[in-house]
Amino acid sequence: MQLKISTKDVLSGVFLILVAVVGLYLNQDHSLGTARRMGPGYMPMMTFYLLGGLGVWTLLIGLFSGPDPLEKWTGQDVGSLLAGIAAGAVTYLVAPSIWGFFGQTYNAVGVGILAGMLVFAISPGWRPLAIVCAAVAVFGLTLEKGGFFLALTSLMLLSCVADRTHTLRGVAGLLAFMLALSWYVFIHELDIRVNLWPVL
């Protein structure tokens, strides 16, 4: 049998092994107990060993089931991925000390995701993923203090960036229609508990 590497399978295997190793490491905090009185760590131990085993198996299969390469990554793809992760992490750590708002609830997480994803979006290959995630993060950031309408508007405006064919009129129409519809469904009918307008 000759080596015909399936990159997808090999990477899948590596991913599963990675999760298993991290899981087993974290599981050291939990007592295993006995078979009769299983501790909190018993099931995780069995699960992660099994996961690791399956990861190894997937990896081995991947060496012979190819070729099945991933899509080509450009230098820009790699660069913006690394820069995005860095930007996200830095923003997450620094943002709370810049504005108190970012220190509340999970706002630091939100602004971290937003910054990371926006940097990530520099490379065109990542743009759909990055823009959609950034849009969802903006929704999370603006909903509680900015209110329902602001959050939905920013979510839709940002997500529209992901599709080049949008026109100004189309987006305006979409905004008006969706704001009215979501107000009717979620506020008027279902009465979910959120602020409609910004609170200061």
């Binding site: 008027h188 009918e189 279902l190 009465d191 508990r193």
Partner: protein, 321 residues
Amino acid sequence: MRLTRRAALGVPLLGLAAPALAQGWPAQPIRLIVPFAPGGTTDLIARLVAAPLQERLGQPVVIENRPGAGATLGSQMAAQAAPDGHTLLLSNIASHAISPALYGNLRYDALRDFTHIALLTLNPSVIVANPRAGIGSMADLARIHRESPRGLDMASSGAGSSNHLLIVRLGQMLGREINHIPFRGAGPAMTAVIGGQVPLMSDSLPSAAAHIRQGSVRAVAMSSAERHPAFPEVATLREQGFDLVTNSWFGLSGPARLPAPVVERLARDIREILARPDIRARFAEIGGAPGAFSPAEFTAFIAAELAAWAPLVRESGAQPD
């Protein structure tokens, strides 16, 4: 037809609006945080009280279920809310007596971070047995537990609940550990007892009452100090030689530093609601006695509960982290 909470709660009742307080409280709908999932005993009690309360306050009382982490998630939310009387909490034995001893990293103090307003109801635990298990009294239980090579199994609604701690205490008194079988809630545990998978269960009276009345399980002992008026035929643990009295309780609390007039008004309204015959009847059906504490008495009660449960939790070996 508009089916929203606001419409449903507000419209038919606003006509009956009681005179508002001088400060204009309540100026908006009141959020009552229930730190358990909808459908359980806590939720039920909250809903029983919320309906008459909103009639008196002239503002909707909206129940918000915030379950999680032994009732501490919702309680923490209430502790952090603005003390303007528009956010209240259905405090209970889990959130304000057991979890503080159980969770080392709790983000609230059960006394300092709250204004405790009124005790709503107090109800005992009851030990029930599958009718085919041949256990009709604590003496039967003790004998079978002693003689059986495997010892007895007893189910509870979950680890760290007052019912679990009762099982641990009983085991200590019997000199042999009872095999505790925790379930995810009282419903599944009761199913297992009725189905004969587990012979015994320690359950709160409200969730067990119907099954005892139907005869699908047999009540062995009640954990109250006196016999329970709804079940006068069931002897207490103390009568049967086990000096153990536990009650689970549910109350109304708010964030710390609630304005005194708000507290007084709520305490008075609750007292009057609990005195209503129809409400008393509902509480009696689910096996709870309505509470009658002033805010100061309720606060002192919680302090005593905290002090009483801490050593029990430690001895039980139940730990969340």
